[in-house]
């Protein structure tokens, strides 16, 4: 059986509170925070991007796996904020992690699902026997247009997973993908900010795919919601995953640990993978874990996972998600945030 042999996550230290953004645009801070269930979000520094986040998360994954990184035969990075339009993020990350040159590398893009997409393909290559180890990374420094609802949630962060067949920290019991063509959120070539279909992003997009994928994987794996200790659903805001989980029969307690969005926002491709990392940080052996991602366009990937005895022994080898969520933070004013996110037009 294949599974996760190492994982790591990274969340930048900069934060901006929802009320600071709301104040800037004359909106009611309480109403915003109550509506989205987001208190604050992470913001990348001027020197942080998808590549640096991937390296930080990847280093944690290698440390927890305890393997020679040169044995990783495939490395995929899912993101919608790759720093280059043409030139892979993955080559730089592979080089820094010591994975090159005998490695297959690609950058993936599928809105917020690109991270689990990378994990899905990495797992498949390991299961097929094509490579001994493969790494899938989800990372983003997502952008939301000023005064758009997305500005309250679009954040930065990511997680990396190494898949293998021996010394598993987590077994992958089943996977499932559910995909349709649904234009709920997009960014055209050359556009700086994404656009979305407002309420259309809800029922026909997020909920249809998350619910369909989760119901299908529960049906084919034979598990029911109450069998799981933890469940993670993609977190575009605080409300959607709780609502989806409730409709599927999951309790708040099952979703609590992986529900990282109130303190870090939606890190797009890094969102559900970071939620999973938070769960693995505290999971006990034999815990059943469900993760369902969502990417606009639109699709969901579901994984049924089971923690092994080895997992708790490896957690302390790298920084936990909680330590980054609750550790040193630097709170930004909206002006600083606008500078950090390069929203201010400057002369050359």
């Amino acid at each position: 059986m294949a599974g996760i042999v190492g994982y790591g996550a990274y969340i930048p230290r900069n934060r901006i509170k929802s009320e600071e953004i709301a104040r800037q645009w004359g909106k009611d801070p309480q109403a915003i925070s109550r509506g989205l269930l987001i208190q604050e979000k992470s913001v990348p520094g001027l020197d942080e991007d998808t590549i640096t986040i991937s390296v930080a998360a990847g280093r944690g994954a290698v440390a927890r796996a305890g393997i020679d990184p040169a044995l990783i035969g495939a490395l995929y990075i899912g993101s919608e904020s790759h720093p280059y339009a043409v030139k892979p993020s993955g080559t730089i990350v592979s080089e820094v992690l010591g994975v090159t040159p005998e490695v297959h590398v690609a950058d993936f893009e599928f809105a917020c699902k690109a991270g689990t997409e990378a994990m899905f393909v990495a797992l498949g290559l390991v299961e097929s026997g094509r490579v001994e180890y493969a790494m899938g990374i989800g990372a983003d420094t997502s952008q939301g247009a000023p005064n758009d609802a997305l500005e309250f949630s679009a954040s930065a962060g990511g997680a990396a997973y190494i898949f293998g067949k021996e010394r598993l920290l987590v077994e992958v019991l089943d996977t499932y993908s559910y995909t349709t063509d649904t234009p709920d959120f997009w960014r055209r070539e050359g556009e700086f900010y994404p656009r979305h279909g407002g309420r259309f992003t809800g029922e026909p997009a997020y909920f249809k795919h998350v619910l369909s994928a989760t119901r299908a994987i529960l049906d084919r794996s034979g598990y029911k919601a109450s069998d799981f200790r933890h469940a993670i659903f993609h977190m575009p805001n605080g409300k959607f995953p709780l609502s989806a989980g409730k409709q599927l029969g999951f309790t708040k307690e099952q979703m609590a640990v992986g529900w990282v969005v109130p303190l870090m926002g939606n890190s797009y491709s890094g969102s559900s993978p970071t939620g999973l990392a938070a769960v693995l940080d505290i999971a006990d052996p034999d815990d059943l874990i469900l993760i369902t991602s969502f990417g606009s366009g639109a699709a969901s990937d579901s994984f049924v996972l089971r923690a092994t005895d080895l997992l708790p022994q490896r957690v302390e080898r790298a920084a936990t998600v909680k330590s980054m969520l609750e550790g040193p933070r630097h709170y930004l004013t909206y002006g600083e945030y606008a500078k950090y996110r390069e929203k201010i037009i400057l002369n050359d």
Partner: protein, 130 residues
């Protein structure tokens, strides 16, 4: 920095590759062909730990054009446990807090952009531990 030069410096920028002199044991970063201490020419390659202590520091208020957005920022000489010393930016903290003895981890960050259309140059920066 032209792309070929950046590419040639990958070993030290990406992997913190240094050299230990076989004559006097001194560690130089980046690796050199002649030891600055004893003029020896035999070296052992080693990779610096991604942690160290600030030896000395300064705060840059008026930096080069490419770093204006980051000013004021701290620059420091950091010594790793192997004895290698490197000059790095120290980030994710108040620049005035970067003082001798501060423990830092060396994290992979974007160093500079080669204009709007050029390559992105990455390397390591210090981040205070804890």
């Amino acid at each position: 920095m032209p792309s070929p030069r950046y590419w040639r410096e990958k070993a030290n920028r990406f992997h913190l590759e240094a050299a230990r002199c076989q004559g006097c044991g001194g560690v130089t970063f980046p690796a050199r062909t002649i030891c600055p201490a004893c003029r020896g020419t035999e070296f052992e390659t080693l990779y610096l730990s991604r942690k160290g202590k600030v030896v000395t520091s300064t705060v840059v208020h008026v930096g080069p054009n490419e770093f204006q957005m980051e000013a004021p920022y701290a620059m420091a000489v950091v010594e790793t446990p192997e004895g290698g010393r490197l000059m790095v930016q120290v980030v994710d903290c108040e620049p005035s807090d970067v003082l001798p003895g501060l423990e830092v981890s060396l994290e992979f960050r974007l160093i500079r952009r080669e204009g709007h259309g050029g390559i992105l140059c990455y390397g390591h920066k210090g981040v205070p531990v804890g």
